[in-house]
């Protein structure tokens, strides 16, 4: 069966290293024969702020009509790839807003009457891959608690298939690493997405 991959890319600059990583992700997925849908949050001018109306109806199933396609893509894919720079130990606000608004009731979860634990709905998602860059070295991120990594591998993953695999592809200390280290990282990203 053909893999269905949703790639969510988040960086304000089209010439960034993260944009280069996105191209290698797509190349790897194409080579594996996957069907790919690419979301460029900055490119399409996604609104990351969850609105008062959305909050008032957040227990009702569904998303705001303006972001229906995002919810459909999320419910369609079996592989989710998130590509972003790590800022303040987590996802950029733009990507966090995509979680806040698209991972909604009736899409990612439902809350049974009287419960306080979300029941997962994204059984279609069997693999989540994070591709990210860090300005700081790994040990600093460990001191900071690796919030971004765990938001994906724990909070979001809990809404996916029970056997969902997660992959963490991260380049640390990007401002100080060499050209060859950066190129090696890109090769590694493409290799991992081929499988």
């Amino acid at each position: 069966m053909t893999r269905r991959a949703l790639v969510v890319y988040c960086h304000p600059s089209p010439t960034s290293f993260v944009a280069a990583a996105r191209d290698r992700v797509v190349a790897g997925l194409d080579a594996s024969g996957a069907e790919v849908r690419l979301t460029d949050l900055y490119g399409e001018g996604f609104t990351p702020e969850l609105s008062a109306d959305e909050h008032a109806t957040h227990l009702d199933a569904g998303v705001d009509p303006s972001i229906t396609s995002h919810a459909e893509n999320l419910m369609w894919c079996d592989t989710l790839v998130l590509i972003y720079p790590t800022w303040w130990s987590g996802q950029p606000a733009m990507l966090k807003g995509w979680f806040d608004r698209v991972w909604a009731s009736g899409v990612a979860w439902e809350l049974p009457e009287g419960a306080n634990r979300l029941a997962p709905r994204l059984r279609n998602v069997r693999r989540v891959v994070a591709v990210t860059t860090h300005g700081s070295p790994k040990h600093i991120n460990m001191v900071e608690g690796e919030g971004g990594k765990r938001t994906i591998t724990r909070s979001l993953r809990a809404m996916c298939h029970p056997l969902c695999r997660t992959s963490w592809l991260a380049l640390y200390n990007i401002d100080r690493c060499s050209e060859s280290e950066r190129l090696m990282f890109l090769d590694r990203v493409e290799q991992r997405l081929r499988r």
């Binding site: 702020e49 008062a52 909050h55 130990s89 733009m94 807003g97 608690g145």
Partner: protein, 207 residues
Amino acid sequence: MCASVSNNDTVHAAVVLAHPRADSYAHALAQRAVDGLQAAGHRVDIIDLYADGFRAAMSEAEQEAYRGNQPILDPLVQTSADLVRNVDALIFVYPTWWSGLPAILKGWMERVMVPGVGFTFDERTGKVRPGLTNVRHLIGISTYGSPKSIVRVVNDNGRRTIMRALRLSCGFGVRTHWHGLYAIDTSTVGQRAEFAAHIERSMTNLR
């Protein structure tokens, strides 16, 4: 220097509030925090991100300006930056979503805590130095949909972003305080009232 700064008992606090609805419990908590601070004679400034129409996403121009001499391009961001450089206490009030900060608050950190505000790059060593050495109290007040046991399992990422990542930008002597109300959907009116009263008391007791 004005008198209130030289007086050690008076705290100048900034409350940063992130909730889209003015009738929310988060707004009520922020108000109780302000009441508590004012009751003790402390000085408070509130930043209500949604009411201000704060833009969450760092723009391409801001990203380009990040390493330059003028990384702040938005007057609203400048107002926050001027404030956080002068306060003794930084207080965040928000609902935890996906174990972290609402996008608008995460974006506030990204756009306000730029080089020269949140930290500085040491030109000689290339190291990052804290910029918020004026902040003596770093305080988080948050509500959670999940019970505390689940919050622990998923790593309480928003709390760590503030209490660890942002803490590294404060001085060595900074004190951190965390106030969480868990499982809010199944909490009682009494529990919420008690939590709000606890917030007011602890703000009054800030020194």
